[in-house]
């Protein structure tokens, strides 16, 4: 990649998110993925003459939530526009969208990349409607050899939010991290299932390159058809290199839309589409303006949940390192609640976080159990953490205790007693076992006294065996050395 030295990429990402409302954006048809084709259609979403759109209030609240979560300003007044173009899956020949006054504008999202935090600006988030779905039928399903197109309008009119970043992204890794963090925010807001494979979250990237320090942007290329975070990262990395190669070998980058080919790992130029000015945007005469006044905004703001970045910061304040805070922030909500309650009950935050993200998660996965179905409470986790730090049970016995708790055997203390896992921390009882072991192993004692220190390990093992592993190892060690010297 030395060819990239001295070059800088300028990347902006457009993300489309389908809102998972009950009904569509402008009509009462059901929003549903995977239904039989053309079951959820009506005159409005089929674009039949005379049908009138009426906006879904919930969608407007949800896009406002998205904007607030992305630190955007919410336009008090915004309007819908018609974006005009001809395509078979767009039955009205225009898409209702927003143009110069979107609901949300000028925000940012902080993204963690390789231990650093990068602030990516948000240009805007606007409300629009999704199109229908076209299936191009023909030889091998290849679009170029299609002989006919099948249309399903179930998706037509589903509320769609387009979120446009500022060109603040510089690397493929940042592009991926931005898209992932944005998805986490959307999921936290519970406004979309944001499934990449089903297309309820989709992204396009605008990429240009310039020599480092150059004041102007290079020619911008739009990349489409990236269906996973991995393909987004690969496509961006490929395209940056392609553009630098093009320029350094004497060519020029042309402004175009390119298609990412996942299998070949390359981008292909597509036939150019109508330019932006050809969409002939004009205000949608069928819809009156939307006014989201201060009162409504305050109501919506109150419904915002704790966002991933806020949660990570809260965990960091509890003393978790960034990695652990990040893993825990991405954990299941029920598990996070157990963690929060454990900390409230006085548990050491780091120890509780390690239990939750480690042993507890592993147990649930192993036993194929949903986090919400586990009997583990915050109080019990706090008790378990305390039992380990007070040496009531050994670290390995603590895993057995957890197993018992998870299987419904009761509180940690009860499980530890029931499974006979309480450590012997009574010096007298351990001393008796130590004496027995020393009497039974005179040669080991002799070797120790001749200077062979490591023989202590063997003797500790013998004492642990004599106590069925329940003696507190630290105490055993102390007593052994005391008696040997």
């Amino acid at each position: 990649m030395s060819v990239l030295e001295g070059w800088e990429a300028v990347i902006g990402i457009e993300v489309h998110v389908e809102l998972l409302t009950q009904s569509k954006m402008f009509c009462g048809c059901k929003v549903g993925f995977g239904d039989e084709p053309n079951m959820n259609v009506c005159p409005t979403c089929l674009g039949l003459p005379g049908a009138l759109p009426v906006p879904n209030r919930t969608a407007i609240e949800w896009i406002s939530k998205i904007g607030m979560a992305l630190n955007c300003e919410i336009s008090e007044t915004s309007v819908f526009h018609r974006k005009n173009y001809f395509y078979a899956d767009l039955p009205k020949n225009y898409q209702i969208s927003q143009f110069d006054i979107p609901v949300c504008h000028d925000g940012f999202l902080d993204v963690a990349v390789d231990g650093d935090t990068v602030r990516i600006g948000i240009e805007r988030a606007h409300q629009e409607e999704d199109t229908g779905k076209s299936l191009h039928m023909g030889e091998g399903g290849r679009i170029h050899a299609a002989t006919e197109t099948l249309l399903d309008f179930n998706r037509s009119g589903v509320p769609l939010v387009e979120i446009v970043s500022k060109p603040d992204i510089r690397t493929a890794a940042q592009a991926r991290a931005y898209a992932q963090e944005l998805r986490n925010v959307i999921l936290e807001l519970d406004v979309s299932d944001a499934k990449l494979e089903e297309g309820s979250m989709r992204f396009d990237a605008n990429i240009s390159v310039r020599q480092e320090g150059a004041p102007e942007f290079g020619t911008k290329v739009e990349i489409k058809n990236m269906n996973s975070f991995r393909s987004l990262e690969r496509a961006v990395a490929y395209e940056i290199e392609r553009q630098v190669d093009e320029i350094t070998s004497g060519g020029t980058v042309i402004q175009e839309t390119r298609h990412w080919d996942e299998e070949a790992g390359v981008t292909h130029g597509m036939r150019t589409k109508e330019g932006s000015s050809d969409y002939r945007y004009f205000t949608e005469p069928d819809l009156v303006p939307i006014v989201i006044d201060a009162t409504w905004q305050a109501e919506i703001r109150q419904s915002l949940p704790e966002l991933p970045a806020e949660r990570r910061a809260r965990y960091a304040d509890l003393g978790l390192d960034p990695h652990l805070a990040g893993v825990l922030a991405g954990a299941d909500a029920d598990l996070r609640a157990v963690f929060d309650h454990a900390v409230d009950a006085g548990a050491d935050a780091k120890a509780a976080a390690i239990w939750i993200t480690g042993e507890v998660t592993a147990w649930l996965r192993r036993e194929d159990t949903a986090p919400g179905d586990s009997p583990l409470t915050g109080e019990w986790l706090a008790a378990l953490v305390a039992m380990v730090s007070d040496s009531k049970v050994s670290a390995s016995a603590a895993k057995d205790v957890l197993d018992g708790v998870m299987r419904g055997e009761g509180a940690p203390e009860a499980v530890a007693e029931g499974r006979d896992l309480i450590q012997i921390s009574d010096a007298g009882a351990i001393a008796a076992a130590v004496d027995e072991v020393l009497a039974a192993n005179p040669d080991a004692v002799e070797r120790y006294q001749a200077g062979e220190q490591k023989v202590v390990g063997f003797l500790v093992g013998q004492v642990m065996r004599a106590t069925q592993g329940k003696a507190e190892p630290k105490l055993v060690n102390e007593l052994l050395r005391e008696k040997l010297s």
Partner: protein, 96 residues
């Protein structure tokens, strides 16, 4: 001053196949409209509140509730061609 219009481009965007005569006629008519709009733009509107809609109200919403959709058989019966629940149309390619 007459405004320069690429009337053939405008017709193409609207998918209208126009004869030379029609193109000339629409060029003139559209020119008149744009000239009139230019006059309006010359007006001092600094004291006028921008308006996006002639109706004097805002926020005409509906609740997020599902209403019955149309019968699919009825919908597809209106299409020139349908199969297995889909509308069938000539191959639609990006940009064509």
């Amino acid at each position: 001053m007459p405004i320069d219009i690429d009337i053939a481009h405008v017709a193409r965007l609207a998918r209208l196949a126009l004869t030379e005569e029609e193109l000339e006629g629409y060029r003139r008519q559209l020119g008149d409209i744009l000239e009139h709009a230019a006059h309006v733009q010359d007006l001092d509107t600094s004291s006028v509140t921008p308006t996006a809609h002639p109706l004097g109200f805002v926020n005409a919403f509906r609740d997020d509730e599902v209403c019955p959709s149309l019968e699919r058989a009825e919908v597809l019966a209106a299409a020139p061609e349908a199969r297995e629940g889909y509308f069938v149309v000539p191959p639609a390619l990006e940009g064509s």
